[in-house]
Amino acid sequence: MDILSHLTPLFFGLIAAGTLVGIIFGAIPGMTATMAVAVCLPLTYAFGLENGVALLLGLYVGGISGGMVPAVLLNIPGTPSSITTTFDGYPMAQRGEGERALKTGIVASIFGGLFSAAVLFFFAPILADFAIKFSNVEKFLIILLALTVIASLCSNLLMGIFSGVLGVWLSLIGTYSIMDGGNGETRLMFDWMEYYLIDGFSLLPVLIGIFGLTTVLLDAEKSFKDEANQGRISLKNGKKFSFSVFKGQFLNLVRSSSIGTFVGMLPGVGGSAASVLAYSQEKNFSRDSSQMGKGAPQGIVSSESSNNALTGGALVPLLSLGIPGDSTTAILIGAFTLQGIQVGPLFIGNNMDTWYLIIIGLLVANLLMFAIMYLAIKPIAKVIEVPKYILYPLIIMMCVVGAYAINYGIMFDVWTLLLFGVFGWIAHKIGLETVPLIIGFILGKSAEIYFVKSLESYGNYSIFFTKSPIAMLLWALIAMSLAFAIYINIRNRRHASMQS
């Protein structure tokens, strides 16, 4: 077979190099899988299609997986899709269980990655046909479903909803871009802000500011070295990792991986929605979700399996329709066009060897990601033992560099990071809930686009309820998710009042 001639040491070497570099990119706050793929894209011109794609797949898988490292150890999501990893990963790290949290995440990641690769291999064309049944209406409803996680995650329902709405409002600052079919007019700002805010606030500086910088500021309040040292964490305190952590998690793994793969298949919905959806479904439907958000491994399992499942999912529409499923595969498609290869509905049939090589590349990248991260995690987890007065300046420096680099050198992104760091600190003081706020910020813009597009396409509000059986099913899921979240909230309040 011709395919065997492509399985050279260079092919595997490039996957390994890509995976390693991807993990490093993912682990540095502000650097993402998308950026790693964009930086290395021109190299693929020299390597040829098969070897070039091998490199990019390694970067993609590594970049998504590496995002969990700062999420667990520093409370900074390395990539937007690892935001839900912070909810349980960071509390675990604070208990001295950073290594356990990371290893749980790595195993969940490889499960999600391999699950989605298998789905891609066996069902890609069928699933692509199913994905196109999701019009703007259904995509809006999926985002609405993901937004219902706000109700599950807040400790005070009203304040949580207010924070979520504030997040949506912040996401709308800028323009409804003509690139998305909008009118390109600026809104929610003064004229003098237009130069800086025409594209709105960038997601990653906001994310790193609210999560990372706020944590640093809150700890910095302790001010004195001795006091700060009292909070030093020892890795010896917490539980050690064992595979028994996955006992009873099979359903969670399969459901979260399925959600990740499925959301990845829907162009424009975005990776963050996948992990948020998977997390909220685990919180709402698992037998015991009382510890989620306080350091429960099941939260990391749902978050990491779903965000790694995005990789195979996003490749489904790319390879079956020529439509990228997410921002990273939108760059990946460049590797094909640079080589003059058309990617569309006939791609797989016309390029069987390349198709098999992509599947092999994806499998090997996942296996290498597991091997590299599992072996390296013990020393990496020791970051948590570094005294905070040494660690925090380094974190701030990394955050600033990452924010500056994310849009190829825009200084305003650094000011955004600082602004939202201070805003997060104030929000903490006045009782605003930052997690719902950031979820609203991440999903707000997509919600607006699909809402407006639905109205433009169909012209009336009733279409949201009557468009298709899928739309009705999504409404049922939204209602169930909300009802369950409200029920849990009331039960927790009763429980708290009985205890007091």
Binding site: A38, L41, P42, Y45, D129, I132, S135, N136, T175, S177, I178, M179, D180, G181, G182, N183, G184, E185, T186, Y195, I198, D199, P267, G268, P317, L321, G322, I323, P324, A330, I331, L332, I333, G334, F336, T337, L338, G340, Q342, V343, G344, P345, L346, F347, N407, Y408, I410, I449, K453, E456, S457, Y458
Partner: protein
């Protein structure tokens, strides 16, 4: 042995010194930095702007012996990067969308002729196309014009304010000329990426979409009962441009087959016999204050590059038409297009 070694060292050092001098001399002649950033007006690395830019910028960098990197920063990011850099470290590549955005009054699109220096053109994408579902009743653009003239609403998916909207405006203008007062039956459904436009067609939410030969050709080869199948109905490039593409065409569609969708009669004005055509042309843009010597240097280097076969073949393989015009000629040609299309857009607005 020692003598031979010493001589070899002297020769090597002399050669290296000459090399350095030669390089420095080349850079003196051409005041471009050794690291050149080329920003493009698109955020997509899978699109035609990135592809055409990569091919030409690679060759340009080789010719000038510099490093050059193409960054897909998007149109606003690219204009801003260009404004910030007067030294010529950053240059921009974009297409007709750069002036069409201004003609359509899109916020943030400056007048490129006033605010920047228009550099050389280098390629045409002859693939700008309009498509209908394979089972559509509309067989030709005449059918669409007639349908709209008879009061039927025809919904067209476009990305507003650019290349995508221009063909829509021309169609609407044609309906206005042939069936005055009926032009509002051509309705724009504003959307974003090609994927979004395709999705609207799959949903039956529009009747026609703007697309391209490169992105949509495979869909035209699907059987009619497939929800995703499409059919070309109009290529906006004139027949002369399509005739310059590879004979094999694109994918399973030959040049001969593509030619039947070009040269469609879309009248531009009542008194002239001219039909609307549009070539999507790629060109460089520079900061207004960029050194004229640097502008000339890029012109000369590109002239040399396009004299060789390599870049022409690479562009043709990727279904582009090589189209090098030095800066002076390019600005005249782009300005002429700007004025021509301003008329069509003006007719519809006022």
């Amino acid at each position: 042995m020692t003598t031979i070694f010493s001589k070899a060292c002297v020769v090597a050092l002399t050669t290296a010194a000459l090399g350095v001098t030669a390089t420095a001399q080349a850079q003196d002649d051409c005041p471009l930095p050794s690291n050149l950033r080329v920003v493009i007006g698109s955020t997509s690395t899978g699109g035609d702007t990135y592809q055409a830019s990569s091919i030409v910028v690679d060759q340009l960098a080789d010719k000038l012996d510099i490093n050059a990197k193409v960054d897909a920063v998007g149109v606003m990011g690219a204009f801003r990067a260009l404004e910030r850099d007067r030294r010529g470290n950053t240059i921009m590549v974009f297409h007709d969308g750069s002036y069409l955005g201004n003609l359509y009054g899109v916020n943030g699109y400056p007048d490129i002729f006033e605010n920047y220096t228009v550099g050389p053109t280098f390629a045409i994408n002859p693939g700008n196309a309009y498509l209908v579902p394979k089972g559509s009743d509309y067989q030709t653009m005449d059918d669409i014009i007639e349908a709209a003239g008879n009061g039927e609403r025809v919904r067209v998916a476009i990305q507003p304010g650019g290349v995508s909207e221009l063909g829509f405006s021309a169609l609407k203008n044609a309906v206005r000329l042939e069936h005055p007062g009926q032009e509002d039956n051509i309705v724009a459904v504003n959307t974003g990426s090609q994927a979004d436009k395709n999705q609207l067609l799959f949903d039956g939410a529009v009747d026609v979409i703007n697309g391209s030969v490169q992105a949509n050709e495979q869909y035209t080869n699907l059987p009619e009962d497939d929800q995703k199948s499409m059919r070309f109905i109009w290529l906006t490039s004139p027949e002369e441009t399509i005739a310059q593409t590879n004979e094999e065409g694109m994918g399973d569609t030959t040049r001969e087959q593509l030619l039947q969708y070009a040269g469609v009669d879309i009248p531009m004005s009542a008194d002239a016999d001219e039909s609307f055509t549009f070539d999507k042309e790629f060109f460089f843009l520079y900061n207004k204050d960029m050194d004229q010597a640097a502008v000339d240097c890029i012109d000369n280097a590109l002239a040399d590059v396009f004299e060789e076969d390599e870049v022409n073949e690479q562009l043709k393989r990727a279904f582009f038409v090589p189209d090098f015009k030095p800066s002076a000629e390019a600005v005249e040609s782009i300005k002429q297009k700007n004025d021509e299309y301003e008329g069509i857009i003006g007719n519809l607005q006022g």
